[in-house]
C-alpha cells in the first residue's frame, strides 16, 4: 500500500465560518479546520476520528466542493481541485463521492430501485440503455441484493436494505475515492457488523479508496489502514492504525482511546476508563495548543506556542511539544 501512488494530497487546508449577530455584525469566527495536511494513497482507507465539532465533516465537505476552503490546496491525482471551472470540477467530482451517514435515507420514495440506480447513469449519459441495465444488475448483486429488488419501492425495503441501495447508487457513478461520514452512527452492533463487511467487500470489488470519518474508534481500528486524530480543527496525530492504537503518543489520542468501553478478560478488574475529571471540550481561544486546557502533560510553552505536526522516527506525525521534546 505504501508504494501505491498518492491520489489525494491535502496541504494546509483551512476553513473558517463567520457567525454573524443582528445587523450582520461578526459575532465570532469558528476555525472549523486549520492547517490540515494529509495524503491518501490509492487503495488505502484513512480514518478520521475526533469528538463532535472537531472538524471531521468540514474536511470531507471541502474535498467535494460543498465548502470552499479559505486556505490550502487539494490535489487529486496531481491536479488541484481548487480554482477549477464549474464544469471541470463536476467531472472530477464524480470520482470523489461524499456519503453522509445513511445513504438510504435520501432515496426518492416514488421511484423503484431499478430507476433509482439507473438515474445517475442517465444523467452522465455515457452508457447505452442495455449496458446501463447490465451495470445496475451487477452493482445490485455486489451489495448483495437479488434482482427482484429492482421492482420494489424504497418503503418496501428494511432500513438495512435501503442503505445498501443508497450505496449501490453511489457505486454506479464509478467513483475512485469515497468519503464515508459517520456511516455506522446510530446503528445497532449487529447491523453495524453487516455494514462494515459490506464496505470491505465493495472496496475489494470496485478498487476503491476510502476516507472513513467516524467518532467510533473501534470501527476505525478494524476498517482503516491509517488514522488521523482531530482536535479542535487540527490533526494532532496521524499514522498507521496499529501504531496509533497500540502506542498512542499525543495526550489527546491517549485520552480518547482510554475512554472507549472495552470488555476485558474474565477476572479482570472492571472499571470505567477515560477522561478523569478533565472538563469536556470547552471553547478555547487564543494562542497555544488548543488541547492545553484539558492536557495533563502541558508545559509552560503550550500556552503560548501552538505545536505543529512533526514526524517521529516511526513515520507518524504528532503535534505536541511534550512528545517532540527530547
Amino acid at each position: 500500500m505504501t508504494d501505491n501512488p498518492v491520489i489525494l494530497d491535502v496541504a494546509g487546508l483551512a476553513k473558517h465560518f463567520t457567525l454573524r449577530g443582528p445587523f450582520g455584525r461578526v459575532r465570532r469566527v469558528v476555525r472549523a479546520i486549520d492547517g490540515v495536511s494529509f495524503q491518501v494513497r490509492r487503495g488505502e482507507t484513512l480514518g478520521i476520528v475526533g469528538e463532535s465539532g472537531s472538524g471531521k465533516s468540514t474536511i470531507g465537505k471541502c474535498l467535494v466542493g460543498i465548502h470552499e476552503p479559505d486556505a490550502g490546496d487539494l490535489l487529486f491525482n496531481d491536479s488541484s481541485l481548487l480554482g477549477l471551472a464549474r464544469r471541470d470540477r463536476r467531472r472530477v467530482a464524480r470520482q470523489l463521492q461524499y456519503v453522509y451517514q445513511d445513504p438510504g435515507a435520501s432515496l426518492d420514495p416514488r421511484w423503484k430501485v431499478g430507476r433509482l440506480l439507473e438515474e445517475p447513469l442517465v444523467i452522465h449519459a455515457d452508457h447505452g440503455a442495455a449496458e446501463r441495465r447490465e451495470l445496475v444488475r451487477a452493482i445490485l448483486g455486489a451489495v448483495k441484493l437479488p434482482d427482484a429488488f429492482l421492482d420494489r419501492y424504497p418503503h418496501e425495503l428494511s432500513g438495512g436494505q435501503q442503505r445498501r441501495v443508497g450505496l449501490a447508487r453511489i457505486l454506479t457513478l464509478n467513483p475512485s475515492l469515497i468519503i464515508l461520514d459517520e456511516p455506522t452512527s446510530g446503528l445497532d452492533v449487529s447491523v453495524q457488523a453487516a455494514v462494515i463487511n459490506l464496505f470491505k467487500e465493495m472496496k475489494a470489488a470496485f478498487d476503491l479508496t476510502y476516507i472513513f470519518i467516524s467518532h467510533d474508534l473501534s470501527v476505525v481500528r478494524i476498517l482503516c489502514d491509517r488514522v488521523a486524530v482531530m482536535y479542535a480543527g487540527r490533526i494532532v496525530e496521524i499514522g498507521d492504525v496499529e501504531q496509533v492504537f497500540e502506542d498512542p503518543r499525543h495526550p489527546y489520542t491517549r485520552m480518547l482511546l482510554n475512554a472507549v468501553p472495552r470488555i476485558g478478560r474474565p477476572g479482570a478488574r472492571r472499571e470505567i476508563g477515560g477522561a478523569g475529571d478533565i472538563p469536556a471540550g470547552e471553547e478555547v481561544a487564543g494562542a497555544g495548543c488548543p488541547f492545553q486546557p484539558r492536557c495533563a502533560e502541558r508545559l509552560p510553552r503550550c500556552a503560548v506556542d501552538e505545536p505543529l505536526p512533526e514526524n517521529l522516527a516511526d513515520g507518524r506525525g504528532v503535534a505536541c511539544h511534550a512528545v517532540a521534546a527530547p
Binding site: 445497532d188 449487529s190 468501553p261 472499571e271 470505567i272
Partner: protein, 334 residues
C-alpha cells in the same frame, strides 16, 4: 440477595397498531436489588424503553395494554396502583428517569434554576416542619450541592441560564443531577449516553457510578452496548424482541455467556483484530413473532423443538438464567 427492591414478573405489553396487535413485551422478568446497577442491553426496538415506561406507568394511553404480569416495588404491584398515587408518591419521587434526549426534557423558555426548584418543591420530601423561606433555602442548598457533585461549574450561576446555553454533555449532567435530587430509590437511565462522544460518555458513566454508590441508589441502565454495561453494571440482562434472553451478574455473564443471541452480540462488536460477524436475518416481526423461541429464525443452533415450544427460562448457574433449551451451550471459540 435479599428480597429485591423492584421485581418485574412476567410482564406482557401489547400495542394496537395499523398492522394489528404488536406484542412488544412478552413475559419479561428482571429484578433489581437495593443500590444495584442493572444493565438492560438490547438492540433498538427490543422493548427497553417500553419496559421503562411500564415501570413508570407512562405507557402511551389508548393504544397500549398491559396484558399480564406484575411490577412489584417495595412490596406493592405498581400496575395495580391508582394512577394518582403513582404520580404523586412514586414516579419522579421514589423512581426517577434520566431520558435519552436532554433537550426534550427541559422547557426551553424557563431557566434551569426555575425548573429544578419547581421539581424540588413538588417531588422532593422536605425535612419535617420546613416551609416557606426555610424550605426554599434548604432546597437550594441541596441543589447546589448536587450540581457540584455532577461537576457543573459555578452552580449558582448555572441556575440562571436557559437550557440552550449548556452543551449537550452539561445538559446530560444536569439531567443526572435532577434524577438524584428527590432522593429516589431507583433511577431508570434510558440510553443516556448513546448520542455522546466517548470522552463525555466515560465521564457520565463514572459520575453515575459514583453518585449511585454515594447515595445508595439502584439504577436500571438501558443501552445497546455490551461494553458499556460491562464497565458500569453489577448485573446484565440481555433482551431480544420483548423477552429477557439472559440475565446474570456481570462477571458470570461475560465469563460464561450462554445464549446464542448473546454470542451474536459479542461477535459483532469490533475488537482488536477480529473480523466482525453479523447476526443473520432481521429483528423478529413483533406483530407476528416466530412460534416457539423468538430468536430461532436467526439462531445458528435452532432445532426442531425451538419452533414447537417456548423455551423455558432456566437457571444454569447460581443467579444466571437463560431462555434457551440448550442451557449447556458453550460459546463457539472466537
Amino acid at each position: 440477595m435479599s428480597a429485591p427492591m423492584l421485581s418485574v414478573q412476567q410482564v406482557s405489553v401489547d400495542f394496537a397498531t395499523e398492522d394489528g396487535t404488536v406484542h412488544v413485551l412478552d413475559g419479561v422478568s428482571l429484578a433489581v436489588g437495593r443500590g444495584e446497577i442493572v444493565g438492560l442491553v438490547g438492540e433498538s426496538g427490543c422493548g427497553k424503553s417500553t419496559l421503562a415506561r411500564t415501570i413508570l406507568g407512562v405507557l402511551p394511553p389508548h393504544i397500549s395494554t398491559v396484558s399480564g404480569g406484575r411490577v412489584v416495588f417495595d412490596g406493592e404491584n405498581l400496575l395495580d396502583m391508582p394512577h394518582r398515587r403513582l404520580a404523586r408518591d412514586v414516579r419522579g419521587r421514589r423512581i426517577t428517569l434520566i431520558p435519552q434526549d436532554p433537550y426534550q426534557a427541559f422547557n426551553p423558555l424557563f431557566t434551569v434554576g426555575t425548573q429544578i426548584m419547581d421539581l424540588m418543591r413538588t417531588k422532593s420530601p422536605a425535612p419535617g416542619g420546613l416551609s416557606g423561606r426555610a424550605r426554599k433555602r434548604f432546597d437550594r442548598d441541596r441543589v447546589i450541592q448536587v450540581l457540584e457533585a455532577v461537576n457543573i461549574p459555578s452552580p449558582a450561576e448555572a441556575l440562571k441560564k436557559l437550557p440552550h446555553e449548556f452543551s449537550g454533555g452539561q445538559l446530560q449532567r444536569l439531567m443526572i443531577a435532577m434524577a438524584f435530587l428527590p432522593n429516589p430509590e431507583l433511577i431508570i437511565a434510558d440510553e443516556p449516553t448513546t448520542a455522546l462522544d466517548v470522552t463525555i460518555q466515560a465521564q457520565i458513566l463514572r459520575l453515575l457510578r459514583n453518585m449511585a454508590d454515594r447515595e445508595g441508589v439502584a439504577v436500571i441502565f438501558t443501552t445497546h452496548d455490551l461494553a458499556t454495561a460491562y464497565q458500569l453494571c453489577d448485573r446484565v440482562v440481555v433482551m431480544y424482541a420483548g423477552q429477557e434472553m439472559e440475565d446474570a451478574d456481570t462477571d458470570s455473564f461475560f465469563a460464561s455467556p450462554r445464549h446464542p443471541y448473546t454470542y451474536g452480540l459479542l461477535g459483532s462488536i469490533p475488537g482488536k483484530n477480529a473480523e466482525v460477524r453479523e447476526i443473520p436475518g432481521e429483528m423478529a416481526n413483533l406483530a407476528d413473532p416466530p412460534s416457539g423461541c423468538r430468536f430461532r429464525t436467526r439462531c445458528a443452533r435452532a432445532e426442531v423443538r425451538c419452533a414447537e415450544a417456548r423455551p423455558p427460562v432456566t437457571e444454569c448457574a447460581a443467579g444466571h438464567v437463560v431462555r434457551c433449551f440448550n442451557t449447556a451451550n458453550e460459546q463457539v471459540a472466537t
